[in-house]
Amino acid sequence: MWEFPLFPDSASTFAPKVDALYIGLMIVSAAFTFAFCFFVLFFAVKYRRGSKADRSNIRDSSPLAEAIYITVPTLIGIGLFMWGAIIYFELVSPPGDSIEIYVTGKQWMWKAQHPEGSSEINELHIPAGKPVRLIMTSEDVIHSYYIPDFRAKQDVLPGRYTSMWFHPTKVGRFRLFCTEYCGTEHSRMGGWVTVMEPAAYEAWLEGSSETTGLAAEGEALFRQYHCSGCHGANSTVKAPPLEGVFGGPVPLLNDPKDPQSGSKIIVADERYVRDSILRPMEEVVAGYEPLMPSFAGQIPEDDLLKLVSYIKSIGRGRQTRTLTDRGMSEGEGAASNITDFMGGTSANGGTN
């Protein structure tokens, strides 16, 4: 208890990079702080009242000095910004082969659901040496998923998916916190992330799955909520079939209410699937009538995740990048990029 670590454990591929940047920033900051302190004290003492120091040629301004004050910090600032931006870019770009786990936050616990079917509360079991991507949502207020030893954090919002990823490098137990204040038990909303050897992880998955997997459960729900009535193979209603949709391009009507309005292309990702279930009128596939009813308020988050997982399983293999919530999907129309720019409001804009 009486030791002072300056850094948390270094347990992901981000940790050494973020720490190096932090040390770089600290060196710059310390250099400036010591320089200021030195000069302030040195001048204050040397030119204390009554001292005989030379005071000839006093100047009260110097454009050259001001130019240096402006350019040097600006250049250092731009350099630090770029260093930070490069790492940040990595922080928000999950590799295509990540393990994908669904996380739901609610006052005051974290639930994780593995695609194979096991779920856990305030724990997360993952294998070492593989990238992991979390697809997260909240059932009530804003929370934030934070693993200091991984240097990874992402807010978890109600009503939309956000995602984060990391690549654990070290086997062990690491603390998990909620870092967005969320009410009474905020400080107790946390637990542990357990990083295991891959073989141990496989064994753990086997041992803890009571079900056949998220996608399979989703398939059952797909019938139970009567989605298959319209989207199924032999339905009479004209609705788009969902095989091969996920991960591929989808043409959407520019104006959902007007079939003649022309179309734009987006990439079907988790956000798109989720919004299509809850707010089907906002993004209508070109060539179809806006007939689908909204399921908002009828499907709990857990079931939504399973449905998304099922639609993903019948999609086109693994897509590389699906971070529309970061404004990063490649094929997005210009209009939605603008709303994304202001905080991904497209995932949530408007009312239903």
Partner: protein, 540 residues
Amino acid sequence: MGYLGADYTIKSWLLTTDHKRIGLLYMISITVFFLLGGAAATLLRLELMTPRGDVFGSPDDYNRSFTIHGVFMVFFFLIPGVPAVLGNFLIPLMIGARDLAFPRLNLMSWYIYMIGGLFTLYALVAGGVDTGWTFYTPYSTMFSNTQVIAAALGIFIVGFSSILTALNFIVTIHTMRAPGMTWLRLPLFIWAHYATSLIIVLGTPVLAITIILVAVERLFKVGIFDPAYGGDPLLFQHLFWFYSHPAVYIMILPSFGVISEIVTAFARKKIFGYSFMAGALLAIAVLGFLVWGHHMFVSSQSMYAGMIFSVLSFLVAVPSGIKVFNWTATLYKGSVSFKTPMLYALGFIGLFTIGGLTGLVLSTMATDVHVHDTYFVVAHFHYIMVGGMVMAYLGGLHFWWPKITGRMYSEFWGALSALTVFIGFNLTFFPQFLLGYIGMPRRYYEYPEEYQVLNVMSSAGASVLAVGYMMPLIYLMISLKVGKIAGPNPWAASGLEWETSSPPPTHNFLDTKIVTSGPYDYELQEFADMQREVQEQGIV
């Protein structure tokens, strides 16, 4: 006895339109809120001595305490602090005016402030608020069971007090300057208040609108922020930080003005780079409106938006840097003495520098992801706001105390308090940087054991800090009775406020001031003499 002795009745204070008396009314009120906020902070630091909850009965009480601490400190102390007390008292004196442009509006601003304060106090006694001073939605609108509306209404009301004061300052500075007091002859204190007033007038209405939206959603369940009703929770954060980031500059720009006055007076030298100092104030006021998204790097804001906010945050640090560079250069070849106000000012420069530079860790996206919403952020903004604004406020209070009251305080106790505050401050908040980087989240009632040592250090430092803050309260009061008579200009400082008696007469000046030179013409008076002396000695 000047304006103080003009009349002794309570009524003559409560109905006064004299900007100096109103400044004193504010001084008393913000001190009360500072003490209330400080009491809450004491409880928080006591609770955090141990990893488990023990001081408070429940996490809810802890949550209410940090909320009320933040609300009182930010909205009722830091924001009005320097402008409403020192600005009110000094702006007319410094520009050679009789009063502010709208004296009765000025009195009304104080009443509005008090009504806002009473609402918030009501929220406190009626059960408190537990949303944090940031009122994030949908927690504040749909989930919290506490007095959100009353507290928010208090903040809404006090906002109008700020707006009216700012308008009053802007009009006064435009229209009431003494003959010859051109824009480039204004003391930097005036420039700082001008820039601050612009931010207040442009930013505060956005806060007012945001509060109304919160109230509407909370009362009528109209979906604005809660996605369950079709709203967008991030909309709140954009609106809130659009005001609250500029608000951090509302808190610090007036302090820049105070420090510029003190440094020049005790270095006996014109400020270095006057026009750049004024320009930097305006640049901060403008750029400060463009960086709000740096509070939202992990909120799921788009990556490209994040990049723009990040680079602009680095740019806003540049004018802040200019200020520190130029204060340092002002000391060069000056004639520096270390009276209490100067000790506070030097402390300000040190703490503000640390606060500003750690801001770089937060503006850099990759490091902010790790330290956002941890104690690192808590340490950063305390260095800026408490290390900065409070040091400047106390420095200014000691500098102009003789002008305000006509009395000198004990220099010994003054120096001791400046030193105690500086040391106590660093002991309290430096450990929090370390705590934040190793991962302790903010707003935690309980925490893992590995964080205890640093928390105990921080709490111990806080007790030193508390002593430092109590000292001026005592010796300044004592000085009212036994202090030496100050005379009009005890520091031999330049500036119109020193050309009238201490305390000034109700009408401020007996004659009309005519200004013929820029501010801070110290070297004109004595440097030539001193230099001649040195040279003569060299010849002998």
